[in-house]
Structures are given as C-alpha cells and as structure tokens.
C-alpha cells in the first residue's frame, strides 16, 4: 500500500511538472498583452510599463516560472492580474462550487444509469431493453447545454418553480442551495446518465456470460439474486473506471453548464481568466485541475481494490 501511494505521489509530481511547464509556455505564446487587457485601451504607456514591472511580466520567463511553481508548492497561487484578488481563496471557493455540481451530477447519473443499464442488459433480447438502449444512445448525442436550456425554459421560465440560474452556497441557506443546484446538476447528470447507462449495460452483458454466474445459479440463487450479489460487484470495475474518467471530463465540461446557469464555478473562472489574459489565474486553475484529476485516478485505483480483492494481490 505504501509503495502504491509512493508511486502515485511520484506520478503526481511528474504530471504536475509537465503540465505546469506546458501551460506556462502555451500561455506565453498566446497573442494579447495582459497589461493592455488589465488596464484597458485608455491606459497610458507609462501605466502599462509600471504594470508590467509590478507583475513581473517583463522579466525572464524562467524566473517567472520558478516563482510561480515555488508559490504553488507552498499553496500560494498568487494575486490575480486583473482583479487583484488573492487567488488561493478564490480558487478554493470555485473548486467547491464545481465539485458539488459535478459530484451531484454524477450521483444523479449513477442513480439513473445503474438500474437502467442493468435492466437494458437483462432485457437485451426484448423490446424493453432495446428501447432503453436506444434512448440512452440518443441521450449520449444530446449536448448538455441543450438540456440546460430546455430545463431553464420549462422549469424556470414557464413553470417558475426554480431559478433560471445563480448560486447559493450551502452555508448561506440550504433550501436556496438546493433550488439553485438542482437544474444544473440534472443538466450535467442527464447526459452522463446516458453515457454510463451504456457502459453498465455492456458490463452487465459481459458478466451474464461468465461461468461464476452460472455457478451461482446452480447453487440455487435466482437469476436476479445471482446478478445482484455477484454480478454487479464484478461489473463494478469497468463502471468505476468510466465514472473516474467522466468525473475528470465533467470538471472542465461543467463550464458550459456554469455559463448557462450563471454558476460561479471553476470553469467560469477559467474561461473569464483566459479572456482577461489573467495568466497567473489560468495557470493556477489548470494546476489545480491536474492535481484533482491525478487524485481522482488514485481514488479509482483504490476503488478497484475494494471492489475486487484479486486486484489487491496484483498490485
């Protein structure tokens, strides 16, 4: 286990090094002077020069890079070029918003996808299964912003049950939090539900052909009983893999939903920061995302060993 952890830390360090260097260089290549964007077209040349000196954007690139990475290691992401805000609390706040949204979206997706996918597999020979499979196929093709817009049109504009957007943190009012989080989470989760349904279906189909399931039935378990007790757990490994991959993509894919629902999440902050050429903020957000994704992979690995004791020995 300790060796396992060590290898993950090493992987994290290597990934971060490559990712930070890449993002740093790419941002420097991007056209657009951060000073001009920060101060606007009315800024005098003297003010622009002073700004560049103050923020060190006129210094050597290597020095800029090292200063930033040094800050990262101590948890200090620096100060935004544009808003002069401390980035660490800002990013931490945004990570929570996006984190809640993504996890809730994934929860909704799983609650729908696991039973529906299992049923689609069990019924794969009859009309019910084919219908479920077809519906999930269509679901995969629907972009989630469209789901978002439709949800807003129905529940916010027409029925007026829920707000069309915005955000309330759980600590500022739990009821309001739910009213605000529900539509974006459903919008985010519904497309994931369709995708995961397809994986669950094929995983369960695979399992249904396995010998151990036949053995379980021979022991006297019903088909449903055998599937519940032995089948789903074995189907769990590929499902957890896809859930891990999808959460990673949702972290950044949430930006579209955040835009539609005016949710102040990490994706919105990243997009605004790119637009404002707030290079330090962009770098820091990407670095945080890299850390999150690597951590996520670690958790997925852990989940494998919990689900399937055979993998514990293998590692």
């Amino acid at each position: 286990m300790a060796r396992h952890l060590a290898s993950h830390v090493a992987q994290l360090a290597a990934t971060l090094l490559v990712a930070t260097a890449a993002i740093f260089v790419l941002l420097r290549v991007l056209p657009g002077d951060p000073a001009v964007v920060a101060l606007g077209i009315e800024a005098t040349p003297g003010a622009l020069a002073a700004w560049r000196a103050e923020h060190g954007t006129d210094g050597p690139l290597l020095a800029q890079y090292l200063e930033w990475v040094g800050g990262l290691l101590t948890g200090d992401l620096g100060t935004s070029y544009v808003t002069s805000q401390e980035l660490t609390p800002l990013v931490a706040d945004r990570v929570q918003v996006t984190g809640i949204l993504v996890l809730l979206g994934m929860l909704i997706a799983l609650v729908v996808a696991v039973p529906v996918g299992t049923l689609a597999a069990v019924w794969h020979r009859n009309a019910g299964g084919v219908t479920l499979s077809a519906v999930s196929q269509v679901g995969v093709a629907v972009p989630n912003f469209l789901v978002g817009v439709l949800l807003v049109a129905l529940f916010a504009v027409r029925l007026g049950w829920l707000p069309s957007g915005g955000w309330t943190a759980p600590v500022d009012g739990f009821g309001e939090f739910w009213r605000h989080v529900l539509l974006p989470a459903v919008a985010l989760g519904s497309v994931q539900a369709a995708i995961i349904t397809r994986y669950v279906r094929s995983a369960v189909l695979e399992i249904m052909r396995e010998d151990f399931l036949r053995t379980a039935r021979a022991k006297g378990l019903t088909f449903t009983g055998a599937l519940m007790r032995h089948g789903l757990r074995n189907a769990g490994v590929p499902i957890v893999t896809v859930v891990g991959v999808q959460i990673a993509s949702m972290l950044i894919g949430a930006v579209v939903i955040e835009r539609v629902f005016a949710v102040p999440g990490l994706g919105s902050l990243l997009l605004d920061s790119v637009g404002n050429r707030d290079l330090l903020a962009v770098q820091s957000i990407v670095a945080v995302l890299v850390v999150l994704v690597v951590l996520l992979n670690f958790l997925v690995d852990l989940a494998y060993t919990v689900l399937d004791p055979r993998l514990r020995r293998a590692s």
Partner: protein
C-alpha cells in the same frame, strides 16, 4: 436638437405610460399589500474587474458606480444636457475661462467626512496627476482650481472650452475625499446615494442606500447587480423573474418574444455607442479615398441594422449621436449604391479586391460582419473574416499594432469623434490636420461656434469616408412592468439607478 426615432419615441411613451399607470395603481391599490418592494435585482453582462475607474479603463466600472456611488459637480441628464449635482449652481466669467461653483452644503462622503471645496480641488488635481488613463487629458484644459470658501470653488481654464463642463459630468468629474486613504479597487468612497455593500466576483455586486445621503434618499434601499456571461442567460433570468431588470441587453432576436410578455416592459433607450466599420486609412487598399467611398456606397446600413440587430438601434451618418448638441443628419451622405461603388473601385483600379476583416468575438460584431461581407461581395470585394478574440487579441492586433485592414467595433464613449478621428496615431490612422485645427477653434469659441465647428469636423470625416458608422447601438432595457423611473437613455457610461421605484402591488 433631439431627434427621436419612432421606435425610441414609442419606447419612451410606453415607459411614461407604465410610469403613469404605476402611479395610478399606487394610489388605488386595495387588494394588494400596498407595500412597494424596496429592493431591485438588475442583470448586466460585462462585469467590472475592480472598482477603480481612475486606473482601469472600460465602461463597466463607471456604469455601475457613477451617479449611484460617485457623483460629480454636474451630471448629464437623460436628454444629454448638463445638470447640477454636487454644485448647486455655477457662474462663468465673461471670457468663459473661470467657472465658479457653489456647492451644496452638508454633503458627506460614505466614510463620514464632509464634502467641501478642498475635495473638489484635490479630485481635479488627482485626475491630472494620478490617473493612469488617457481619459485624464480631458482635464488638461484646467489651469488651476482654488477653494474660495468651504462651499465655493473657482476653476480656471487655460482657454475657453465647450466640452469641459460636459466632461465634468462623466467619470473624470467624480468627486473623491481629499485625504483619500482607501484602496479604490476594493472600496468606493463617494457622495452618492448608494455604497458598495458586497462584491462577489463572478456573481454580483450589492449596493445599499445611505441613510445620510445629502439629497433625496432613493426609494430602493438595496440594489443587487448580477452579472451574466451572455445575453441569453440574462434574458432567461428576466423572463423567469429572477432579475427585475435586464439593462443594456444585447440579444435583439429574443426581444420580440419578451415584448409579448405582459409582465415585462421592453424599452430601447439611446446610447452613445456607435457600431463603426473601421477602415485602416494608413494601409492599402483603404489609404485610397475612392476605395473607402466605394465601401460606404456598398453598405446598405438599413439592411445591416435589420438583419444583424433586428432593427433595434438607429441609423447614423457620422460618429455623432442625436443626443449631442452638434448632431446633424448625415445619413444620406453615402446612399446605398452598388453601381457607384463598383465605379469607384474601377477608378481606383481595385477591381477583384481581396481584404481581411478582423471581427472581434462579440455578438454584435459577428452579426454585422456576415451582412457586411455579403454586401461587399456584391460589388466585388472579397472580405475574409478573421475572428479576433475580444478583448485580448483584438486590442493587441488591431488596436495596438494597427495590423488590420478592416474591422468592426462598438465605440461606447460619449463624444468620442475626436478621440477616434482627431489623432493620426489612433488605430484608424486617419490623418487630417484640419480636423484638430477646426475642433480646437470650435472648443474655444462661443457655444454657437462650437456647434458649427464640430459639425464641420463631422462633415470632413464623412467626406473623407474615414470609416463607416453603421448604426447607433440601442440601450435595450427589459424590466418588470411594475418597475418605474428607469433611466433608459445611456447618455454617459453611467447606469443611473437612483430614480427607480416600484408600483405598489
């Protein structure tokens, strides 16, 4: 001097009627609670990055703060006229170089300090010394400002100026305490009826009314200004009732649907924003007058307005909006005439012209660009659209490096004709020394000479086809039908919230 288009006149009439109806129901409400709401939620796109407009340019900050949090000696009213604000009155001496302002007594800043003549002197001096925006040049004309007493201040100009007093009603005229210690980026200290209560980046800014405001305390005690990433989200929010007013809404396609909603009012106010088809006068092919004139004749501006912006807005022939004192109707200077355009291109030897068209990634620009390209194609100009991310890439490539042939951009600043066409180093590259000469004479002349001179300047720029003003951007406001006192005309950058009231329900 004001010329209203029918649409705007109708809009204004609707607003007045709604206000009148609101007033009626306020007196006769028996069924409702009778209590009018005292909070308003306003939706905007374009969030300010901080609160300091002395160091950060762009209209987002003054839009939020001017008249609401900061005030000037004078203010610009809905008709574009100068009106007293912190100055009760003023006198101008015979040669129009000394302005003596009498200030209101008992005015306090939000930090509790008393507003006196010393603050005026310090604020004017700070524009000249500390402001880092080129906007500060508007105060160059001031030779000195002196406090005569606590409530009297004399400002001496280097020469008479017709534009200075107007400028004092915009953000350069904002009054700050003389012993300013606050960081303006995070804290706003003004004399206005509101203070900034909370800034939630990426979400909203909350303004709270001051009990100790020197003037009439506003009816609305709390204003939440929510910022949206795009106009669609803003429109959804106003339809769903999450916000009470969508100000400066830039989604004209959605307006017809909103207009049918009985709970909402849709008003097109005027603005000072001109959508300009910018031609780089310093580089081929637009260094040739005939090619520029050909473009002017090739563009059917009426079609551009109706196709790109659903007819919301107003056709203009120059960079002067109808709310300016020196407005003249120049819309017929270049009638839509593709044949004449082809003829001019032929004379210039520019048949089968291929150009690049840098289009900033803004809804209005993208919509306009499509129409313009197809109209230019009709006369044999092949314009290739190159998207330029706004603001970063557009500012860098087009505005700073002048590396472009044609672009389209919204110039929002009030009275910006000389900023754009008076300086050959500006990105347009229009070099006509007569413009600054005539403009300078006009500014120093009598008010009548000012109007005549500025009209001559506008005429020169149009004759030279320096660039093509396409239309005046509307300041479209969609609001709850019960909300009154909306300042729909954006005569400066300011969104004046101080007059808002609710009809009693």
């Amino acid at each position: 001097m004001q010329i209203l288009t029918r649409r705007i006149a109708v809009g204004a009439a609707v607003a007045l009627t709604t206000a009148a109806l609101g007033a009626c129901s306020a007196g006769s409400s028996g069924g409702g609670t009778g209590e009018a709401r005292t909070d308003v939620v306003v939706g905007l796109t374009g969030e300010p990055t901080n609160l300091d407009f002395t160091r950060t340019s762009g209209s987002a900050i003054p839009q939020l703060l001017m008249n609401n949090v900061y005030e000037g000696l004078v203010t610009i009213d809905q008709a574009g006229e100068v009106q007293p604000q912190l100055a009760e009155s003023w006198e101008i001496n015979g040669d129009r170089t000394v302005y003596t302002f009498t200030l209101h007594d008992g005015v306090t800043f939000s930090d509790g300090s008393l507003f006196t003549a010393d603050d005026v002197v310090a604020s004017i001096g700070r524009v000249q010394d500390d402001w880092t925006l080129s906007l500060k040049s508007k105060m160059d004309v001031v030779a000195k400002a002196e406090a005569i007493s606590d409530t009297e201040v004399a400002v001496t100009l280097k020469h008479p100026s017709n534009s200075w007093l107007f400028d004092m009603g915009t953000s350069v005229g904002a009054m700050f305490p003389d012993d300013l210690s606050a960081d303006l980026a995070t804290e706003a200290v003004g004399t206005g009826p509101y203070t900034v209560e909370e800034v939630a980046t990426g979400e909203h800014v909350t303004l709270a009314a001051r009990d100790d405001y020197w003037g009439k305390v506003p009816a609305i005690s709390e204003v939440t200004v929510r910022y949206f990433a795009d106009a669609n989200a803003q429109a959804n929010a106003v339809r769903a009732g999450d916000i009470d007013m969508a100000y400066n809404m830039q989604a004209p396609d959605l307006l017809s649907g909103l207009e049918q909603d009985e709970d909402l009012q849709v008003v097109d106010g005027t603005s000072t924003g001109e959508v300009l088809l910018a031609l780089n006068n310093a580089e081929p092919p637009f260094d040739d007058l005939r090619v520029r004139q050909a473009v002017m004749h090739a563009i059917d501006r009426e079609a551009v307005l109706s196709t790109a912006w659903a007819g919301h807005g107003q056709l203009i022939g120059s960079m002067v909006p109808p709310t300016d004192p020196y407005y003249q109707d120049l819309t017929d200077a270049y009638p839509y005439d593709p044949d004449r355009a082809r003829e001019l291109l032929g004379e210039a030897g520019a048949e089968d012209l291929g150009i690049t068209f840098d289009v900033p990634t803004r809804p209005y620009a993208e919509a306009v660009a499509q129409v313009v390209v197809s109209q230019l194609e009709d006369v044999g100009i092949d314009a290739r659209i190159v998207p330029a991310e706004f603001p970063a890439v557009w500012l860098d490539k087009v505005f700073t490096k002048h590396d472009y042939q044609m672009s389209v951009i919204l110039h929002t600043e009030a009275r910006d004709m000389l900023t754009i066409f008076g300086d050959p180093d500006y990105y347009i590259g229009y070099d006509n020394p007569r413009v600054s000469e005539v403009a300078e004479e006009a500014d120093q002349g009598s008010p009548d000479q000012y109007v005549a001179g500025m009209q001559e300047v506008a005429r020169m720029i149009v004759d030279d086809a320096a660039s093509a003003p396409l239309f005046l951007f509307p300041n479209t406001v969609v609001a709850d039908a019960g909300l009154n006192g909306i300042a729909t005309n954006a005569t400066t950058e300011s969104m004046d919230l101080t007059g808002l009231t609710w009809s009693a329900s």
